[in-house]
């Protein structure tokens, strides 16, 4: 879902709903941002403005928190987000070749989104599934023991 398809009123009521779920307390801030991020794939500035008014917290402070955490994005992302683990456990069992293949197949570098808005390619510090490295996660789907020649087949599963 993009923010463009929602009216200002809808954005506002969504923010209210999320805040209602977690409560308007300081400790709820990161969970609130996570839920909004989940809804839109990122944190549209309209939602940040609405949240700022609801919580009575300056937008600068919201942005400061939002920009700190890896799983929160202040920029729009593609329809499918690919996370590739670039840490040592995946690296020493062939991760480097998988990464090269991913970049070549998509024509993207880390952090980039394809022009058609289909893919966003991200690297991750560790996805916590190190027993089956190299690991990539596409949206919520986990792929372990990935070999370079298996990459095109994985990508082909997504429309």
């Amino acid at each position: 879902m993009t923010v463009g398809t929602k009216s200002a009123q809808d954005v506002n009521s969504l923010v209210q709903e999320v805040v209602g779920r977690h409560g308007a307390t300081a400790e709820a801030l990161v969970p609130i941002l996570s839920d909004i991020n989940q809804e839109f794939g990122y944190l549209p500035s309209e939602t940040m403005a609405a949240l700022s008014q609801t919580l009575r917290v300056p937008k600068s402070q919201l942005f400061s928190v939002a920009s700190f955490y890896e799983m929160l994005s202040t920029k729009p992302r593609g329809r499918h987000v690919i996370q590739f683990c670039e840490s040592a456990p995946c690296h020493v069992v062939g991760g480097r070749q998988v990464w090269q293949t991913l970049q070549d197949e998509l024509g993207l570098e880390t952090g980039e989104t394809s022009e058609d808005g289909k893919w966003t390619l991200l690297t991750s510090s560790c996805l916590g599934i190190c027993g089956v490295g190299p690991v990539i996660i596409v949206d919520d789907d986990i792929y372990g023991n990935v070999a370079p020649d298996g990459v095109p087949e994985i990508l082909a599963r997504y429309a």
């Binding site: 928190v65 670039e86 840490s87 040592a88 510090s125 190190c130």
Partner: protein, 547 residues
């Protein structure tokens, strides 16, 4: 309980679920009902079984037959052959050659293989994590009952102190002492925080505990709360661990219903409740004060210590912060006593340690063994040897912030003291086993890349130091490193250790320090001869685009 003939377990770690474990589970239930066996056979999803080569895996007791990988289409045949005809379903068995970890332990119950010692993972992979009754049948909440009805808070702390339990998150601080500090303050409310922000590369032990035995964390936190006088607990869990979050939420609501959480637990005047707080992706939030900042809705930047969280923690109040693996040692210690616990491990590092075995070995996975086992034993027994018969070059212990341990130290016992004497650190228990194809410059570069992206940016030595060290290592790996670069790297490494605000920056220097100490000749070859002896570095003579 009804008598059952067979117990069927389906692995349900994220990898298994991604490969259709839930569908396998559903079809097993249907096939068993169709065969009219539902009164004799119990099917259960279990957490990660500690073996990752044939997922999803189905284990059937009492024969302890291991099938894997099992697809939904295999299920009718499997049920017909094993449960109806009572013979092995030919062709579906997981290869026994790679018997390891959890499975080895399970098989050991049949008296066939040397056993691991499981304390914290005793139930993970054996019980249904979404069924509180299953936990109770396996001695669950007995330790909490004992603590609340038979022991004073001071006695609980004493027992934990006597057990010699040390923090398993990496630092090895005595747990009993931490609890005593918090119990001694008169400032209320106090908090119990379970650090489940496991983000160290190569470490996924806490995930297995959370996914496989979530009630053990709840029970342990309630005991800690009783001991120090806290009525509220937080589990700060990695945002990426979605399945673990769901299992914990289920477990907490079950515990509330059964009265293990809430008011007047076990008829005592002790009340306790737990909140789950999911992180949003930041390695630094594993540092206890950064974690607390994050719960408070701020950027996860570490605070200055002292004051420590034991007096000024969450909302400025006294807080116990314990790692998952540490705290789940508590119920068995309370239940069986400190003397029992000290039978395992070494005298200075009692108990067991969970290790993840990764890298160039035949079998990767997870084991829980007494403290003091050696790297050589881990590789030979549990890793089933090096892949392709290669030789060990080094092991990175404890993820990026652990040490790079050369093969010459593979007979050093893996416990806190022996490792400290050898000048290396045990860290969080990830054992990344590397063969001769691994280049130390490349490994250091990957590690520094990790620190540079995970540095929170609060202090300059770390923010700039990790960035600069990564640039230099990149130059060396491209064959354009100079002698001056080596001197700079040495200095940066010392500055990181000396001047960084928190553990992240301080340990960022470890890969550099260890590589210089143990593999200096190989680094020099890159600089002076422009050769990468392992053949891993590009050595293209030009710097790659700055990251």
């Amino acid at each position: 309980m009804k008598p059952i003939r067979s117990l069927v377990l389906v692995s349900s770690d994220p990898e298994s679920i991604g490969r259709g474990a839930q569908e396998v589970h559903r079809r097993l239930q249907r096939a068993i009902e169709a065969a009219d066996l539902e009164n004799e056979v119990v099917v259960s999803m279990v957490g990660d079984v500690g073996r990752h080569d044939a997922l999803p895996m189905v284990i059937i007791y009492p024969e302890a037959t291991i099938y894997g990988p099992v697809t939904p289409e295999n299920v009718p045949f499997l049920v017909e052959e094993h449960l109806v005809e009572r013979r092995i379903a030919a062709g579906l068995e997981a290869s026994t050659r790679e018997l390891s970890g959890r499975i080895a332990w399970l098989s050991a119950r049949r008296g066939t293989l040397p056993a691991e010692q499981r304390i914290v993972l005793a139930r993970a992979g054996l019980i249904d994590p979404e069924n509180v009754e299953d936990y109770i049948v396996h001695d669950g909440y007995e330790a909490l009952a004992k603590a609340l009805t038979e022991m004073t808070p001071a006695e609980v702390i004493n027992e934990i102190g006597k057990s010699g339990l040390k923090g398993r998150g990496g630092a090895g601080f005595p747990t009993g002492m931490k609890w005593r500090f918090v119990s001694q303050t008169d400032d209320y409310p106090k908090y119990i925080i379970c650090n489940a922000d496991e983000s160290e590369p190569g470490t996924f032990k806490d995930r297995l505990i959370l996914e496989g035995d979530p009630h053990s964390v709840i029970e342990a936190m309630a005991i800690a709360g009783y001991a120090v006088g806290a009525n509220e607990g937080y589990i700060y869990i990695r945002g990426e661990y979605v399945l673990a979050q769901e299992r914990l939420a289920t477990a907490i609501s079950q515990a509330r219903q059964m009265g293990f959480l809430g008011e007047t637990i076990f008829g005592s005047d002790f009340s306790f409740d737990i909140h789950i707080h999911a992180g949003a992706g930041a390695y630094i939030c594993g540092e206890e004060t950064a974690l607390i900042e994050s719960i408070e809705g701020k950027r996860g930047e570490p605070r200055s210590r002292p004051p420590y969280p034991t007096t000024h923690g969450l909302w400025g109040k006294p807080s116990v912060v314990n790692n998952v693996e540490t705290i789940v040692n508590v119920p068995p210690i309370i239940q069986h006593g400190a003397a029992w616990y000290r039978r395992f491990g070494t005298s200075n590092s009692p108990g067991t340690k969970v290790y993840t075995i990764l890298g160039n070995v035949n079998v990767t996975g997870l084991i829980e063994v007494p403290m003091g086992i050696t790297l050589r034993e881990v590789i030979a027994i549990y890793g089933k040897g090096m892949q392709d018969g290669a030789s060990l070059k080094l092991a990175q212990t404890g993820g990026s912030s652990g040490s790079i341990v050369p093969a010459s130290l593979q007979d050093t016992p893996l416990d806190f003291d022996s490792y400290a004497r050898a000048g290396v650190s045990l860290g969080s228990g990830a054992l990344l086993i590397c063969n001769e194809d691994t280049c130390v410059v490349d490994l250091a570069k990957v590690s520094l890349n990790f620190f540079k992206r995970e540095s929170c940016g609060k202090c300059t030595p770390c923010r700039v130091g990790t960035q600069r060290a990564y640039q230099i290592l990149t130059a060396i790996s491209e064959g354009v490193g100079t002698q001056q670069d080596l001197d700079d790297l040495q200095m940066l490494s010392e500055n990181l250790t000396e001047f960084s605000h928190c553990g992240l920056g301080q340990t960022a220097s470890v890969p550099i320090r260890d590589v210089f100490r143990h593999f200096r000749a190989e680094v020099d070859a890159h600089v002076q001869l422009k050769v990468c002896p392992a053949g891993a570095c590009p050595m293209s003579g030009q710097l790659a685009k700055a990251a």
